[in-house]
Symmetry: C2
Subunit: 156 residues, 2 copies
């Protein structure tokens, strides 16, 4: 039986600074840090990351999800949201949500001189996929296990 874990300082959760992206995309996001807050409490239905994005870096390649809802809430610093509709500057206390299946690709870019921090929140559909209109990249999960390929399905 799972037990209830005590509350903790989100920044005390160990940071992961990894990416499943192949180069040259990996270097465009790293050393982005993600602290998996949901995992720290044994959550399986929602994912909540405290993410630190460094100056000059992108949160991800611009993408949209087929099955997962997503919401970003900015805590510190300043980022630029880029979608098909253009650019928007986000400051602390601002948020944006992306409903599953809405085909408007998005990402955040840190064009400031300081690290930015935000919460990224999503559900965990078993078979999510993501499309990347700007680059030759595709993502697909089968039974919850995901992999990146080129758009023609070939591996990197």
């Amino acid at each position: 039986m799972a037990t209830q874990r005590a509350a903790l300082d989100a920044r005390s959760v160990e940071a992961r600074s990894t990416s499943g992206y192949p180069e040259p995309y990996r270097s465009r996001v790293l050393p982005r840090e993600k602290r998996a807050l949901g995992d720290a409490f044994g959550l399986t239905k929602i994912g909540v990351n405290l993410t630190t994005l460094y100056p000059g870096k992108e949160s991800s390649m611009r993408h949209f999800h087929s099955s997962d809802d997503e919401l970003l809430y900015v805590l510190e610093g300043e980022v630029v949201l880029v979608t098909d509709d253009g650019e928007q500057r986000l400051e602390p206390g601002m948020c944006v949500g992306f409903a599953a299946g809405v085909k408007n690709a998005h990402h955040l870019v840190n064009r400031s001189a300081a690290p930015a921090r935000y919460l990224e929140i999503s559900d965990r559909s078993a078979d999510d996929a993501a499309e990347y209109p700007d680059v030759d990249l595709s993502y697909k999960e089968v039974n919850g296990k995901g992999a990146f390929t080129r758009k023609d399905g070939s591996s990197f």
Copy 2:
């Protein structure tokens, strides 16, 4: 087809100050304010509220959920987390997660002199239920529509 809505200041979302609780429980939580950030972007799989809890008030009656994961992230002020394990003081930047089905009832109490603000995040299972060990209250959803009754099933 849904469209992508622009990012917004979370505090610009209209606040709801309502509760499905009967008295005397309703007065123990209100005038708690909830701003439904997920709804503002048409999200259906996750719920994200920006909640303001006033001095002397409780976030809810102490409870646990059968099917929904839940995570709280404190943004401003100070609250006390109460569970079966005791009490813990939470400050901004602290978080706590409650995995679906873990039978350790929890809530937050604002014992400070200032309003507290936190994000409450959950998935949206179709048939969630909640148990309330401290009071004669029960919650059950059928096809996503929930109702509060007494523990013997009788209505208020």
